[in-house]
């Protein structure tokens, strides 16, 4: 069963995080990927995204697509990265999400979404 973990955070809360702690968390995140990849739970490493200030969005408009600066939604929380995991069920996926090292910071969340399986009729 494949799920995407979307790692979300709240840019307005960035400056509240202690830089040393943030750096240490980065190392924990590498270890997290290492551990789960070794256990065969990572189907696709996914990507870590550049800050949301670098985002550009193409939106549908009456006269065709329109290019605008910024992310797709006005939400305070933004997606900072994602990875595709392969685990037996939602409980196993939630267990992985719960252990995401950055969750010790306020405004961080992990969205767990099942992936459409095109292999089944």
């Amino acid at each position: 069963m494949k799920y995407v973990l979307m790692f979300c955070d709240t840019p307005s809360l960035y400056d509240q995080a202690d830089p040393d702690e943030a750096k240490a968390t980065y190392e924990e995140i590498f270890a997290w990927f290492g551990e789960h990849a070794a256990a065969g739970r990572i189907a696709d490493g996914g990507a870590e995204l550049q800050p949301v200030t670098t985002a550009t969005t193409v939106k549908s408009g009456t006269d065709g697509p329109v290019v605008v600066d910024g992310p797709f939604s006005e939400a305070k929380e933004v997606v900072g990265g994602f990875t595709v995991i392969d685990v037996p069920d939602l409980d196993a996926a939630l267990e992985m999400a719960r252990s995401w090292p950055a969750l010790k910071f306020p405004g961080v969340s992990v969205e767990v979404r099942p992936v459409v399986d095109h292999s089944e009729g």
Binding site: D89, L90, D91, E95
Partner: protein, 414 residues
């Protein structure tokens, strides 16, 4: 056959409800195990329950209601799977395995089903509706009437929840040990909500309505029996048993609601209170306190008191202070306010209760509690205003009647 021809008689309806409740959840679980398809299993049993309600009402409850329901549910599951034109292996398995299985009490398949239906990935209303349908065997129409909701609304809630269970692979299994306590709390919370939904709703107009309070008491018993080492499961069972024991005194002969302070305590079910005390002792021996045990301990204090005035209020206040460590909800703090009023007086309790206004302004019992304190302080005018606000906010007919009577008294006194 047990004659249940008197379709409108409460006794026959209770017998129907009990027969269905005892079997439905186990059949959902075993069909799910055989088919691997939760939706097919759950729909097949729901259809069988509807058939049973129609048939048994006419011809009586069969000698082996479980076998009857299982045969009907299997036939429905086969039809569904055939329509889907797949899973031929499963169809064969269902056909072969026609012997009716008797549920074994040591490995009750209903428990994993219950934990799945109460999964935190589902919205609370969905957990409640799905548990009532899949585990307790209610029909969608019965659930809708109990919640004063429309049938399509409840049906859609259940369809969405089942879709999520299937698509997101929510497991119908017992949770991992490290999640066990939190997940058990979710299950107990749903059971508690079920009881309260039944406790406040007045008796339905339709003869085949289920008594949700009865269903919740049954479910709490099932969980406590299946997980005898879980103190909180015993605690909830004790709590609901105590609340149920007071049920006969909650309405007077004219069907009017009677508050705890004014109840005829000789009408409380003493045997039930004693059994709840034993449950609570067993829970306490496990030395793992929790919110349901503390609430049960508070209810036990009330149950053993000869009158409202002669209640051990200082003890109750201590128990509320302990309860707040587990449950900081505004309603719990409001109830603590009532105990505070009894111990230190209304003048001390009113400012405490007033701090809850931002969270509880839309809750009728907040205003009714304020009215009570204001009356004690001799502020009849403000008490009447608060009672009027409480009346506006409740949709329960029995509570409305009580508040109207109180308001009439207050206005007469002005």
């Amino acid at each position: 056959m047990t004659p249940a021809t008197a379709g409108t008689s409460a006794g026959a309806d209770a017998a129907l409800a009990a027969a269905i409740r005892a079997e439905a959840g186990g059949i959902v679980a075993s069909l799910f195990r055989l088919t691997g398809d939760f939706d097919v299993a759950e729909e097949a049993v729901q259809e069988a329950v509807l058939e049973a309600l129609r048939t048994w009402r006419r011809s009586g409850i069969p000698d082996r209601p479980g076998a009857w329901l299982q045969v009907a549910a299997r036939r429905n599951a086969l039809d569904r799977l055939r329509r889907q034109q797949r899973q031929q292996k499963v169809v064969a398995r269902l056909r072969e395995n026609v012997t009716v299985e008797e549920a074994s009490p040591d490995e009750d398949e209903r428990l994993p089903l219950l934990f799945g239906c109460c999964h935190p990935a589902l919205a609370v209303e969905a957990r409640l509706a799905l548990t009532l349908r899949a585990v307790v065997g209610l029909t969608t129409a019965q659930i809708a009437r109990a919640f004063l909701a429309s049938e399509p609304t409840v049906a859609q809630r259940i369809v969405r929840a089942k879709r999520k269970i299937v698509v997101a692979a929510i497991p119908m299994t017992m949770p991992a040990p490290e999640q066990r306590a939190a997940r058990l709390d979710d299950v107990l919370t749903v059971t508690y909500l079920m009881y309260n939904e039944g406790y406040v709703s007045t008796s339905g107009e339709r003869g085949d309505d289920r008594d949700l309070a009865d269903d919740a008491l049954w479910l709490a018993g099932l969980v406590a029996t299946s997980l005898p080492g879980e103190a909180e499961a015993l605690g909830l069972c004790a709590l609901l048993t105590l609340q149920h024991a007071r049920q006969p005194a909650r309405f007077d002969r004219g069907g009017r609601l009677v508050l705890l302070a004014d109840q005829d305590r000789s009408r409380w079910d003493r045997a039930a209170i004693d059994s709840a005390d034993r449950l609570l002792e067993r829970a306490a021996a496990l030395r793992r306190p929790g919110r349901f045990q503390l609430q049960a301990a508070i209810a036990a204090c009330h149950a053993s008191a000869p009158s409202w005035e002669a209640t051990d209020w200082p003890q109750i206040l201590v128990l509320y202070d302990m309860l707040l460590r587990y449950d900081r909800s505004p309603v719990t703090r409001l109830n603590r306010g009532v105990a505070l009023g009894r111990v230190r007086g209304a003048a001390a309790a009113l400012p405490y209760v007033d701090t809850l206004a931002p969270e509880l302004d839309g809750y009728h019992l907040f205003h009714a509690t304020r009215a009570d304190l204001l009356r004690t302080l001799g502020q009849a005018d403000d008490a009447a205003t608060a009672d009027a606000r409480a009346l506006e906010l409740t949709r329960n007919p029995a509570e409305q009647m009580l508040l109207r009577a109180r308001l009439a008294g207050e206005r007469a006194a002005l």
